[in-house]
Amino acid sequence: MDNTLDYTQITGTVFNIQRYSIDDGPGVRTTVFVKGCPLRCLWCSNPESQSYKPQWSYRYTSCKKCGKCIAVCPAEALSMGPDGLIHDAEKCTLCGKCVKKCLYEALSISGKVMTAQEAYNVVKRDKDYYDRDGGCTCSGGEILSQPDFVAAVFRLCHENGIHTCADTSGYGSRDALQTIMEHADLFYYDLKHLDNSLHERYTGVKNELILDNLRFLAENKKEIVIRVPLIPGVNASEEHLTLLANTVKEITPESLVNLLPYHEYGKNKYRMIGMEYPMPETPAMTQEEKDAARTFIESFGLRCKVSG
């Protein structure tokens, strides 16, 4: 990063800053979620993070169908359907008038442009809670899409003694990775599928770049946790787990493998932003299946943990 620039003023598009975030790294953390992702994983639980731009969002459970938002919309992008509001994204200019009008907090604009300093100012409010192992995580979306912003947030953290964790799909340029790597203490690194064509089928992109980047991090001796969304019918078979274990063993054998069993809890968010849920009906994993997957990974001499 060019030090002559004021890195604190670099802007990023953020869709949420979650405090007391306890699933995105060690200890108590604050997670800055940036918006925009090059992947389209069918099971994505944060669909509002996919688009790089701010988005209109609708919490239909809070809507009283009073229609006041429709009346104030200058673009005539809103109308009332039988199940609540219908939003025309083509017409919507994201002016936010409807959000201000709503008395029930049913409407919001998902995503906000902010400076690294502004994001850090939220992070630092919980500094007392981080203690030895907690800190700040940047997640997405995809952080490699906004490397300068993420690196700037991390740099501010480091200047103030706060631990940093980069949560990434690994799909981004080497430059981007390097920019972030400089200020990241720990990587949470996703491996979704080791079969290249299946990876493309489920996520929309190929996996070579991801694996290359992982090697690069390992060569640079970064601390890495491998995160795998575990989805029956997609990547939970023994065959795939074997492939996974061998790959991890080869590239970063010291890493913990963290399995994240599939859930449908993001389903509702699709409706909030007017999208269809792309994932076919998938049964939830039983405890036995989760335990079996963990034992299987461990049988390769790897450390493994199942979340959720």
């Binding site: 979650q18 405090r19 007391y20 975030s21 306890i22 699933d23 200890g27 108590v28 639980s45 944060n46 919490r59 459970t61 809070s62 008395l103 029930y104 907090e105 409010r125 919980d126 007392d128 809670y129 203690d131 907690g134 969304p229 994240l260 069993p261 599939y262 859930h263 449908e264 809890y265 389903k267 509702n268 968010k269 409706r271 979340s307 959720g308």
Partner: protein, 838 residues
């Protein structure tokens, strides 16, 4: 100096053994019964002792009850000591509240203190006896309350407009018709505060105390006692008080012997050798204690049981008997038995389980009509664990672990456990406490700031060796172990005072000008005008409340029953001083738990925030419209109410409202401590904490700009947000509460938090909660407790999602607000949690 503990061994104990399971099931299945023997015995004794000094009468009335009450030792019980002859008896003393008892007799319905939903059975004979007893007391009492009479004489009848009288009657005190007025709460122990299980008495044995009293009596006669007594009245007073001590202690020893006799009788008739041995063990323990020091862990536990029971019986109408630092009290006995192989962890665990059942069994009637009552009460047999001693050593031991384990496995609403947390608290122990909290669910144990507690006493000039020996008492108080008078408190209803500021001192509910004129709110130009009006109201009311508190407490002291037993519990000080704790006999007699309290400041801050934002800054609405909306209780102004609800709210680490909260708190502390407490001569001890009172006082307050509906509860505890208003996560709520150092000025300042089980379903996540607790303590927070939410709450969240906006659920790879989940997943989570609870 922490003891090394094997967590695995602790967790593998079985507290609820089949025997305890059976006893617990019997208790759960038992129909509550009104128990009248004690009140009849009390009255009988009072008649017998006509003409004697009141100290002696009080002691004799205890003696009579202890010597003649029926005893019940159930099959399989490990510990003796039942309050009544029923498995689930609810006692009372008519003398304390005859009019209320009579009302219940006439209604034919008897409400229990520990339940809001069911009543107690009574036989026709007992009903007739109870009614006659109540009538006797009404006849033999002055027709008016002496405290109220004192108020009236000193301040005029208008003062009753301001009162919220709890009517804890000894001599006819109780003016019910002003009950729901609710500006002030006159809330104090009926006569001398709360008795506590005394570790020192247990360790020395009551024979030692009796001996002290006898010697002191003799010494007084031989040498006189001008050091402590000035004039003949005081001399005589001390003389009779010592006699009352002797009577009470001896009655307690003899009462224990009655239990011993019963156990021996049952043993003689018992053919089962194991049971026979158990009964003999009980008999031997009750023959030894409380007269002599316990010889074993079992004897110490049996002794604690009887102390709790006898203290309770003596206090009867206000039965808050803190058990105190049980892990410290029992530890020497446990250590010795354990080292000598007489006991293992399992034995100790079962005994603690048995003690829990016996403590929970104790119930009494409540005489405040249900509609005027905040919530099902608690008998508050608080247990405090851990803490740092005067040498700087942290005192967590095996029993601290085991007591929490017992609590988690027994799963009874009482006793409540408080853990004193310091930076020396072992990580593993804190994790165990959280794990027990998760298994228990509803907020047990609570966590207190060890250093803060000790520091507050040091600040008041208490030497370190005593300052560090404190424990939790009452609902949100705490006190030095058997060294203080535990008085009650008087609270000011801040939310009501704020409402008056919006009505120029006029109460819109009772339609009367009760405060000073502070101007028509429609003429307020800025938020500072509103705040100034509020402060002016408060400045007017504070001296009145202080006068009420002073007269009330002082009148109770001269009015209320004297206590031999309570003096005995504080024998080191009360015996030489010749005074009861409440009269100044205690080592630290200023009784700073006799607090000057306030409630409802969060509601005030939220209201100020909405006014500032909507009226004075954004000019979305005029003050006139706001007042119209409030007067209409928002009817026809639903949109404005939503806007008010959406204004910045305390509990979200939002400087906009937090700075208002800070400003108000600073000023309130200044105003309330502007004058000394005339009884202590020191600045008043401030208390902030609602416990369950917030629902009651809420009934007096109309709609407010916070968006609150008329007559609904105000904020639920000192520094928690208004329900559902803290939507930004736990660190934000804690930051809001700890950004300014109020905890130093207030006792009671409690933080209630609600967590979902799924946020705590692994050791790693419990570790994170431990970090949250440690940070709360580091930021000088005083008291924090966690509700790990129940299936019922989730079910309610399912039906009324808007009221549960802050309910977090852990869902796989991320956490979400319950409200954001689709219905079917909400339903699934509800089901899953219920499944967990089975």
């Amino acid at each position: 100096m922490s003891v090394k503990v094997d967590p695995q061994a602790i967790r593998s104990v079985q507290v609820i053994t089949p025997r305890l399971q059976k006893l617990k099931a019997e208790w759960e299945a038992a129909e509550p019964q009104v128990y009248v023997d004690d009140t009849l015995l009390f009255t009988e004794s009072w008649k017998e002792t006509e003409g004697l000094p009141v100290d002696i009468r009080w002691a004799k009335a205890l003696e009579k009850r202890l010597m003649e009450c029926p005893l019940l030792l159930r099959d399989g019980e490990l510990l003796a000591g039942s309050l009544t002859k029923f498995i689930r008896g609810n006692g009372t003393l008519c003398a304390m509240k005859p009019r209320e008892i009579l009302k219940m007799c006439e209604r034919g319905k008897f409400d229990r203190k520990t339940s809001d939903t069911d009543s107690t059975n009574i036989t026709p004979e007992d009903m007739a006896a109870l009614k006659a007893d109540a009538e006797y007391w009404i006849e033999h009492m002055p027709p008016v309350s002496t405290v109220n009479k004192a108020y009236e004489y000193d301040m005029g009848t208008d003062v009753f407009d301001l009162l919220f009288d709890h009517a804890m009657v000894f001599e006819g005190r109780g003016v019910r018709e002003i009950m729901d007025r609710g500006l002030f709460q006159n809330y104090s122990a009926y006569g001398g505060g709360v008795a506590q299980v005394s570790a020192k008495c247990i360790d020395h044995g009551l024979e030692y105390v009796i001996d002290l009293c006898k010697k002191e009596k003799e010494r007084m006669m031989l040498e006189g006692d001008t050091e402590h007594c000035h004039g003949s009245a005081q001399f005589l007073r001390k003389y009779w008080l010592l006699e009352a001590c002797i009577i009470s202690c001896q009655a307690f020893i003899d009462y224990a012997k009655r239990w011993a006799d019963l156990a021996r009788e049952q043993a003689a008739a018992c053919s089962d050798e194991t049971r026979k041995a158990e009964l003999i063990r009980i008999a031997e323990a009750c023959e030894q204690c409380p007269g002599k020091p316990p010889r074993t862990f079992f004897e110490a536990v049996q002794c604690v049981r009887l102390y709790h029971l006898v203290c309770w019986k003596e206090s009867s109408d206000r039965p808050e008997v803190p058990i105190g630092r049980l892990d410290q009290l029992l530890y020497p006995y446990f250590k010795k038995d354990y080292a000598e192989g007489r006991i293992d962890l399992q034995d100790a665990a079962e005994l603690l389980g048995a003690l829990w059942l016996k403590i929970r069994e104790v119930e009494n009637l409540v005489t405040i009509p249900r509609e005027q009552r905040a919530a099902p009460g608690s008998l508050l047999p608080n247990i405090t664990l851990c803490g740092v001693n005067e040498k700087g050593e942290e005192l967590t031991n095996e029993l601290s672990w085991l007591i929490l384990e017992a609590m988690a496995q027994v799963k009874l609403s009482e006793p409540a456990i408080y853990v004193r947390v310091s930076d020396q608290t072992p990580d593993e122990f804190l994790l165990h406490a959280i794990d027990c909290n998760v298994r228990f669910g509803g907020g047990n144990p609570a966590f207190l700031n060890d250093k803060e507690g000790t520091q507050r006493y040091l600040d008041r000039g208490v030497p370190l060796v005593d300052a560090c020996d404190w424990n939790a008492s009452g609902c949100l108080g705490y006190h030095l172990s058997s060294m203080e008078h535990l008085g009650g408190g008087h609270n000011i209803n801040q939310t009501k005072v704020f409402e008056l500021a919006l009505f120029d001192g006029f109460d819109p509910r009772i339609k009367k000008q009760i405060g000073p004129h502070t101007g028509d709110p429609r003429n307020f130009k800025c938020i500072e005008d509103v705040m100034e009006a509020y402060y002016t109201q408060l400045r007017y009311f504070c001296p009145i409340l202080m006068r009420i508190k002073t007269l009330g407490l002082a009148t109770e002291i001269t009015d209320g029953p004297m206590s031999g037993l309570r003096c005995a519990m504080q024998y080191e000080d009360c015996i030489p001083n010749g005074l009861t704790p409440k009269e100044g006999g205690a080592r630290y007699p200023e009784g700073w738990t006799s607090w000057f309290g306030s409630r409802g400041l969060v509601d005030v801050a939220d209201s100020l925030s909405a006014l500032k934002k909507l009226v004075f800054e954004d000019e979305k609405v005029t003050m006139d419209e706001m007042m119209a909306a409030i007067n209409a209780n928002w009817e026809g102004y639903e949109d404005l109410r939503q806007a008010c609800l959406n204004a910045p709210k305390y509990g979200n680490d939002d400087e906009y409202v937090d700075s208002l909260y800070d400003a108000v708190n600073k000023k309130v502390v200044e105003i309330m401590q502007d004058r000394i407490d005339p009884i202590t001569g020191k600045k008043p001890m401030l208390f902030i904490g609602a416990a369950a009172g917030h629902t009651t006082i809420g009934r007096s307050i109309g709609a407010l700009p916070s968006g609150r509906l008329a007559y609904t509860p105000t904020d639920d505890a000192a520094c928690s947000a208004m329900p559902g208003m803290d939507v930004s996560g736990p660190t934000c709520t804690i930051n809001s509460a700890t950004n300014a150092p109020y905890a130093k000025e207030y006792c009671g300042y409690a933080m209630n938090m609600k967590f979902s089980k799924s946020l705590l379903n692994s050791d790693e996540k419990k570790q994170k909660l431990a970090q949250l607790i440690r940070t709360f303590i580091k930021r000088d927070g005083w008291h924090i407790q966690f509700n790990i939410h129940s299936a019922e709450e989730l079910q309610d969240a399912l039906e009324h999602p808007q009221e549960h906006k802050n309910l977090l659920v852990r869902v796989g790879g991320y956490s979400a607000y319950f409200i954001d989940l689709p219905r079917e997943l909400q339903a699934e989570i509800v089901h899953r949690t219920m499944h967990e609870n089975i």
